[in-house]
């Protein structure tokens, strides 16, 4: 959560932690860092949500899921999309990165290493299965806008790599 302020009422955290990213269900919206503000006022929770990618279809689903999560408590939810500052992979929490790896998605590298890998074919992405770095890019675009498709030469498994976005 570097670089920008987030402002979330602490009593809302347990509920927000139960709302997951529909594309990567092991990550909660808090792990992903897309909730920039959540404030309760007169029975309504006002949420500011920053999209990962402009066209990410998960954002509409997350908005609906937030409403469903707070409904049993009798709270309404108003979601506002906030574009600036733009979301960055730096906003994913460390525990989120660990969950992502355990789920089989390689974590984003630093900006310069990411460029080496995606532009120059460097072998730096760590296979989430066997931890080898003998990996190569199969497709610049993966199953979602935020990922690229890789293959590990050591264990021969294909896997997704979460692209660095800054």
């Amino acid at each position: 959560m570097t670089g920008t302020q987030i402002n979330i009422d602490t009593h809302l955290l347990p509920i927000l932690g139960q709302v997951s990213d529909p594309e990567i269900p092991v990550l909660s919206v808090l792990d992903l860092g897309v909730i920039r503000e959540a404030i309760e006022k007169d029975g309504t929770v006002y949420v500011k949500l920053t999209p990962t990618y402009s066209g990410c279809p998960a954002m509409d689903v997350i908005g609906d899921d937030l409403k469903i999560a707070f409904a049993p408590l009798g709270k309404k939810v108003k979601v506002e999309l906030v574009l600036a500052p733009a979301w960055s992979t730096d906003w994913i929490s460390e525990s989120g990165l660990q969950k992502m790896e355990a789920y089989g998605i390689a974590r984003p590298l630093s900006e310069s290493a990411d460029k080496d890998v995606l532009l120059a074919g460097a072998k730096k992405v760590i296979c989430p299965q066997c931890k080898s770095t003998d990996t190569h890019l199969v497709s610049q675009f993966g199953s979602t806008a935020c990922k690229a498709l890789f293959k590990c030469e050591a264990c021969l498994e294909p896997f997704d790599y979460f692209k660095c976005l800054k």
Binding site: G55, C56, P57, A86, L118, K163, K166
Partner: protein, 206 residues
């Protein structure tokens, strides 16, 4: 409408992304390989996502109770402000990549200027878009190179595509009507002062 010039200006930018996004969307399930198919639809998704941000803003300032969907769908075809380049029909893959590359170079330069706009919403959409469009340009540029340097057949098809598409790049340099409006001062626009400037900055050898 309160700020008609701004409204038209936003559509002048956003309509390009909508139309190209739709053209790429037509290819969903028809790419030459799974990877290129996924890439095309991912790029389409980014472009339509950007369009939504622009249209939501335009709908807000229209003051006419419009929604983003009204702007996207409830206009006659002559009311769209896109350049002709982006609506050229899909033919072969080299043509699609050539069209994409010519637009990506222009698009990235446009967004790099637009992020300096005094209009905070446009600047925010541009900053977000730059990250996505840089990746598009990398992808389309790679394919233009690969096909251009590939077999005699791919070279011929890529060359033919560029020959056919090149005349449409002229329009990218045309001034839009609202460029001259005082209300837009400081907002930048999709035009560059000279074509020469853009040629020097953008369309360099790959």
């Amino acid at each position: 409408m309160k700020s008609e010039h701004l409204y038209n200006y936003i559509l002048g930018i956003a309509d390009n992304s909508l139309i190209l996004g739709q053209r790429l969307g037509e290819l969903c399930g028809h790419g030459p390989s799974l990877e290129t198919d996924i890439a095309g639809t991912n790029i389409s998704l980014d472009l339509i996502g950007q369009t939504r941000s622009y249209y939501q803003y335009a709908a807000k300032i229209s003051g006419e109770n419009k929604t983003e969907d009204d702007i996207a769908f409830l206009r006659l075809e002559r009311h769209y402000k896109n350049v002709l380049l982006v609506e050229q029909p899909n033919t072969h893959f080299g043509f699609v990549m050539g069209r994409q590359y010519l637009f990506d170079v222009f698009h990235l330069l446009l967004l790099k200027e637009l992020q300096l706009s005094k209009d905070e919403t446009l600047a925010a959409i541009a900053k977000k878009g730059i990250k996505e469009v840089s990746y598009h340009k990398r992808f389309s540029g790679d394919w233009v190179k690969r096909l251009g340097d590939g077999t005699p057949e791919s070279t011929a098809k890529m060359q033919e595509a560029i020959d056919d598409l090149w005349p449409y790049t002229q329009e990218l340099f045309d001034m839009t009507d609202c460029r001259h409006s005082n209300g837009l001062r400081g907002r930048r626009c999709r035009c560059f002062k000279t074509k020469k400037g853009l040629l020097q900055r953008g369309y360099r050898p790959l």
